[in-house]
Amino acid sequence: MKLLRETYLVLRKDLILQLRRRDSLLTMFFFGTLLLFVFHLSFDLVPDRVSEMAPGLLWLAFLFTGTLGLAQLFGAERENQCLDALLLSPLDRGALFLAKVCLNFILMLLVELVIIPLFWILFNLQTWVLMPQVFLISLLGTIGFCVLGTVMSALTLRARARELLLPLVLFPLMIPVILATIQCLGAVLRTGEIGDALPWLRLLIGFDVIFLTLGVLVFDWVIEI
């Protein structure tokens, strides 16, 4: 209970900061939209090809915008040694981890709420009825991304060129999430149901659970860095 309350407190602080400054959110929105345009210009997507490529392209857009958000995740704490102050307070490090995961999750979710419908509009996709399933699967993928991403973001916090380093260490480890999400989305867009991609869905949920637990456990060490 204490953990949840502390998580809420840190998250509230971060959300207020985000809503007042909107640095991360605006850049993520803009970058995501920009990516959709670049994709269209570089692949010249005709409608019959686009539903086949949609899961991959959509996830590339999320991956890139998400990385942008992760790079700024501890941005507020880096200024004026705020991180040290936060660590000095009697705050459970696990709560700090959960709050940061939630923050990045909320940011990415807001971006996805815009990007996914925009994708459907820009590429003339007709499958609007599948929207709930698409969101649900993206949600699970986003959790996995945020969980591992937060650990890696904290891990690279004091490295030189950390914005460049983050995707290098994060993307290879994210491969199960990327593959599983794309496979599930592909199955849903093809047949309208999860069908034979069910093992992928289980893998995705398993990944989320494993790394969420692992994150809470190792964050004590991670943040000590």
């Binding site: 591992l148 650990v151 890696m152 891990l155 690279t156 004091r158 490295a159 030189r160 060129a161 950390r162 380093l165 290098l168 260490v169 993307f171 290879p172 480890l173 491969i175 199960p176 593959l179 599983a180 496979q183 034979d196 093992p199 992928w200 893998l203 398993g206 990944f207 494993i210 790394f211 692992l214 190792v218 060490w221 991670v222 000590e224 860095i225």
Partner: protein, 235 residues
Amino acid sequence: MKTQQPQKSRARFLGALALITIAFGLYWALVQAPRDALQGDVQRIMYLHLPSILTAYLSFFLVFIGSCLYLWKREKRDDNLAHSAAELGVLFTALTIIEGSIWGKPTWGVWWTWDARLTLTAILLLIYSGYLMLRSLIDDEDRAALSAAILGIIGFLDIPLIHMSVYWWRTLHQPPSILRPDKLPWENVHPAMLTALAINFVGFLLLYFYLLSLRLRLGEVRSEIKTRRLNQGAY
């Protein structure tokens, strides 16, 4: 300085032993083992290919062990082990991929194919290259060691999941068609082939531990130089 002498000669002995074993293994692989019925002489790359990847796996396991020990006891020695093993692991994985490419071109007609096993090996290379990058980009040594240890553990735990997903990804798309035909059942393998493989494997293990002992020594010397400089106030 006196204490280093037996250590040095032991390392030399290990190196010489590795050299002899690999030479002997190559003799078996290139002369004694029969030509492969389907692939011809090019198949003989297998005698290096398999030992390299097994050595690389061993190396990544040592990274994991070293990382866990470091988190637990915070001793430089364990971090040195993880760091050294990661470097060697990257080296042997890269070697494996290069050997595989040379084997793949005449056998499959391509240097590279997105087969599950190939993809997984490439991902391993990427993960541990990232590990080495992380280390080199953090200036403070203790911090670098700690972050690397955590990445070493998370990376290792992620491997089964990556393994599973990459295999599913391939099998859901297309059944493995290229790799199967040349995979002979055990009874079809000539005993001389197995002998050659076993000797080479032992040779690679010896070579690995030789290189590891050198690399560990290098790490020790490096930190020793650092502490001496600190003591002299040169920093």
